[in-house]
Symmetry: D2
Subunit: 304 residues, 4 copies
């Protein structure tokens, strides 16, 4: 049996001395101030045991990691109709490119590029009574943790500088694939991305993806088939244009964010979250990628 | 000597019976209501004589034709520095595509695609005390006609539905190539496009392009070299992705607008404007293109 | 325990009455003559038991399925250096597009688009004494089946009409990423694609991918890590621009070919091959996709 | 009246001391050996007077300049049907990109990108009895100069290293827009590009473009309308993705080649050729561009 505590401590030691920790995201002013030396890993296994090391309990901005949670909520509400609004194919392009949107009539390639997540936000905005409040409740319930909250400063920070996202949303709207007011949808989207969570909390929130749709408390949020499908999208699209590389090196479905967090999971085995704010050239956490690669190598646990 | 009156009457007769007049632009609600059967031509020659036929005195929304006037004003203000903000190459793409913007770091291909004209509007917004008022004065002075005005209804109509332009402006802003507030720049841009002018007025306004920078009243608005250069951009970029076709069939520098107007000119000889609201698949006036083709064929006057 | 025989018979019955079987590939004349009603499934489980139904023993042109075998041989020879010649990212584009090649300096996106497989063929051509003979031996050994052979008619048929592949190879050569003579490399590549195998034989040949690199006879062809990595590429890139869809609907690493074959596998559990010559719009076997979707649904076996 | 001799001598003096002469094309081995300091200008005016300076009588490889002559011959043979095989729009892309070909079903953007010139070569190959011989005769007749010839060494040099052109030709063939054997068409195309001519000879050969289709000896090779149309294509497409810049700075229809030659003309006035082997980043002669810019500035003669 895998001794996760031993493994993650070994990983943390091996990465402790790494000098090149990548570059902290600077395009969101609030994120630029984060200490680059922060590092945490947390693993929750299928039996609900948890294992942590480093800054695993410190909250950080989960950013794009939130896209897995929003698409889960939208999938539960809309079922397969959701895929008429957004596709499930890898984009093959960096995460902020609009080119494909123009070629493909405003149907984003997948729900994990910004354009796709904005369409998902629009879906939720149409179906939730109080979008910001209801999405937050959803995340709190899934993670069984009422302390999770938006970081208003970060959310506002994005509203002010998120020109590419405003561009994407308006371009999609020009094709008729956004139903609500663009400003409303983006305000909701930026709040969703501003969620502040720790590695521990993230493994609790993502537990249902590795557990056939059921959270740690046994509540069903997705059918088993739906959970599998979101895992498939995470594997093929969860890491911008480095998705192939992550599948190749790590071999787990997962989702990263520019706040430096990554969550990855092995169905029916474990869910792991890492946090290290420095990013590589493709926008994924440099040490987080390495840590997860070591995790699958040392444990021999991967989907392949 | 060319008898322009005879020529344009002949053209008008030959086009009178054409059944397929193209499609009136519908994306701006106010434009969609225009009568498709309207048709006018007006020619002003170098000696200041004017020749008209049909609806040559009825005002219509000049839309993108205004881009030639705004780039002239910006060129006069900024000189060659303007070309650091916008390039002078044909785009090879339809007029609303954002793809190239991403590849080329927010420097639009030329001042006649929407993205380029928005950058030009930003330049004017930075340098004019009262942008909307001052640009309108500029056009009135150049055309020597105080009756020219914005069409507020059309301007507002664009603000509401111009999602692609909002997308373009925000994308450019994300690359740092827009200095002012995006909403302010677009409000100015939409007003500029809403200018209502007749064929006659357009030939007066464009007279200085064919006259080495001097208007009909002899005032100098551009150096001779600057006038030539804008003529060159009109020839290579004035007709979206049909610029080559227009040069090939007509052989004159010119600029078209989705309101169905076209202005074209032969340096030191004449300036001609046509209006027919139905557009071809590339967004240029169907009958206007034919009329100008006949004009150069019948008179033997073209730059080539 | 899964009764594969029962499951695949159920699948075959359910698909028997499907009328729309897609379109048989016509661009290779020899393939166009295949009977559209052919249908076979074969499963080999980890314990070496085999289960077949329909035309599971009839040979067909495996085409692109061969790319998984050639990349395995090249990976074993060159190790991680192989990935300097070809990347591991999904292309997001149809299987025959050259555009990305130009943007990315002749490094194909992954070894499963034609451009990438041609680079792999070039690697093998440089390292094998007798490329065609040695690659064939490799496949025969892995599958433990001396009856496997090239179909010369098909190979020649491709040489004559493979203009896009000739274009791709020359474009890559222009970037210096092909070492040998283009004609030699393509002749080898077309032979490799012309391999004729049955569903049964394909599950034997792909057994080592699901068995940590060891074939049914226990010979080691890849390290466990290498086998996992090729599985990862199959999952993210094995189905042209339908890779996301296949991961989403089926949830197994796999590889398809325009001959109508598909092989898919669940590590340490089973390897399955289907054959139905009719293709969908994206070039994958229409009934094969459905059969594999049912296989994972009925057995509950998938990597997610 | 313009004293061309004085003007070109002044230009030659002003450019004599320029240190940065660009980079000699190296991709064709035979071209790489040319002396970078060579420089010549020749002007032939409408009255058939000639004016030369520097190396105006030394032959060099005209390369892409030949495309204007081949499209003239094909236009005379096929008439407007030619434009079903190749378009007349600027490409907006560097001269060797294949991307647009894929998007536009094998119809090249214009006859001056390599892909378009290869289609033109295919047209001539179909219609000429002895393509290489007949095209050479055509050029000799037009220029009234039997000494003009192919440079076999250069032609062979291109056959060996022209991988991008082979790629383009095969890609076009895959769309059915090349009728003949690809190797035959390319052999003809490479010969055409290998033509060795001096500045003086080039102005003689291009005289008919500026003279309504009639050569210096008064023979008619194109209708007046056809000559104008090729001039229009030269203006919008004659300088790769620097066509807009050339129109903007120089304001004449023209055609450049990687051998360092440029021909430009003002209808009914003059035809000028320059030669300086060093190229700028876009593949056009660095000093040639400057010389022609000065020519239009000093004489005030341009189409705008």
């Amino acid at each position: 049996m895998t001794d996760f505590q031993e493994v993650i401590e070994k990983i943390a030691r091996s990465l402790d001395s790494v000098e090149d920790r990548g570059t902290v995201a600077s395009y969101i002013p609030e994120l630029a101030q984060v200490d680059k030396n922060k590092f945490g890993i947390y693993v929750t296994d299928a039996a609900n045991h948890g294992y942590g090391v480093g800054d695993a309990d410190q909250g950080f901005s989960i950013q794009s990691i939130s896209k897995a949670l929003s698409v889960a909520q939208a999938f539960a509400i809309l079922g397969d109709k959701l895929w008429q609004r957004v596709d499930v194919e890898p984009s093959g392009d960096p995460f902020n490119h609009l080119s494909l949107l123009e070629q493909e009539n405003g149907i984003p390639r997948n729900p994990f590029i910004n354009a796709g997540a904005i369409v998902v936000a629009d879906v939720l905005f149409s179906h939730l009574d109080n979008p910001k409040k209801d999405f937050l409740s959803y995340v709190r319930n899934i993670a069984n943790d009422e302390s999770i909250d938006y970081d208003e400063k970060v959310a506002i920070s994005e509203v002010k500088t998120g020109f590419k996202n405003i561009a994407a949303a308006n371009l999609i709207k020009s094709f008729g694939n956004i139903e609500n007011d663009v400003d409303d949808v983006l305000d909701f989207y930026f709040h969703q991305c501003s969620l502040k969570m720790s590695c521990r909390q993230l493994t609790h929130a993502f537990y249902f993806f590795m557990n056939g749709g059921k959270c740690q408390q046994g509540r069903k949020y997705l059918t088993s088939s739906q959970a599998k499908r979101i895992n498939a999208i995470m594997l093929t699209c969860g890491f911008y244009d480095e998705a192939g590389e992550f599948a190749f090196e790590v071999g787990l479905p997962g989702k990263s964010g520019v706040g430096g967090g990554i969550v990855a999971l092995l169905p029916n085995k474990f869910c792991a979250a890492t946090w290290s704010p420095g990013l590589n050239a493709k926008g994924n956490s440099k040490l987080g990628m390495k840590a997860l690669e070591q995790l699958t190598t040392l444990t021999g646990l991967s989907i392949f």
